[in-house]
Symmetry: C3
Subunit: 152 residues, 3 copies
């Protein structure tokens, strides 16, 4: 069976550098076999890839789903750094996807699928998940994703 | 002491079927003695029982509290399926209740009580809980509830 | 190395009384070495210290950050009560900060720093964290903070 890092490479992806948090917290913490990540934004090389609330007249769900995949990749990088490598992770157990949403946008699940599908391809398993629409996110980000991983 | 399933039956309730998620995630995951559920909506027989933001001119808190109980029942069903039966659960340790809220609605705790009270009756214990008001939820749901249970 | 309670005292702070929840939940739960707190509001002696959405024309981020520190202190009190004392906690592993936000307020991280910095000073470590902007919080609170702590 291919490892998570082999699966990631097969997707043509590689782990980005982990951005330093702007405050008194850390990208991920390992405790008792569980790796909890901080909420990750869609940073690509230090630039936020997708901003604005999702919905009619705003950011499209498709664009936001791509941003959710970037958030997920940043979750993987943070968790891998904390755990000592991506292949130390057995799988993803929980995802919460926060989507900055216009009041009449109700398609949060399709947006957060951008993250869930990446985790599914990397680990070959499925996780529990909540997807919610929020009023605003840091730096006007469209999506924020946090995840919990199980150590192998 | 009655079992959780005896308590549920005494309330005149039974576990519903677990709805298949619409995406690359799963209703609940068991890891290291903790069962994490996905955020559950108030589906009854495949129909969403309660939609719209809660507050003045919208969905009433009482109606939304009933929906929160339905969400909680769906959490129990998801967790029971993942754990191999309701009586494999020792209790509920954490609930997050997301309430789609008009900007001047501040009664989220009473809404989420619909979920907390059901868990209290089924397990005879109390859990940690957060209740927050959000801009929008999937499918215009009024309430979404996620829970963590401890295995017996 | 100073203990958490010595660190707290050095800051000139003491643990407040734990407010009784208004519903069928409890301030904190210990399970398998993890202490999960309920979402805490900025209550000081039974009065909510800071209300209203944060942003232009509303509550200032600086005021809300002070409220987040109060929420964090209430998290510590709840966790200490459940764990049998503050010094039973080895550290904080996860924080979620919900900030009631006007739609154009994107400075949630600076607000939630009020909580993160207190945890950092008390435990001398850093935690994983998500900061999100929400539509409304219970009792019109400006901030709600939930935390997970690891038992020593």
């Amino acid at each position: 069976m291919p490892t998570p890092s082999e699966n990631l490479a097969a997707l043509g992806l590689e782990l980005p550098n982990v951005a330093a948090p702007v405050a008194a917290y850390t990208p991920a913490v390992v405790d008792r076999g569980v790796v909890r990540t901080s909420g990750q934004l869609a940073f690509v090389d230090g630039e936020l890839a997708c901003t604005g609330a999702v919905g009619e007249g705003g950011t499209s769900p498709e664009t936001a789903a791509q941003a959710a995949e970037v958030c997920a990749l940043n979750c993987l990088a943070a968790a891998a750094q904390a755990a000592g490598g991506l292949d130390r992770l057995a799988g993803c157990v929980k995802v919460v996807g926060f989507v900055s949403s216009k009041p009449d946008f109700f398609g949060q699940p399709a947006v957060v699928n951008g993250a869930s599908e990446l985790f599914g391809k990397v680990f070959g398993d499925a996780h529990a998940r909540s997807a919610v629409g929020v009023a605003a996110l840091p730096l006007d980000a469209s999506v924020e994703v946090e995840a919990e991983f199980a150590l192998a």
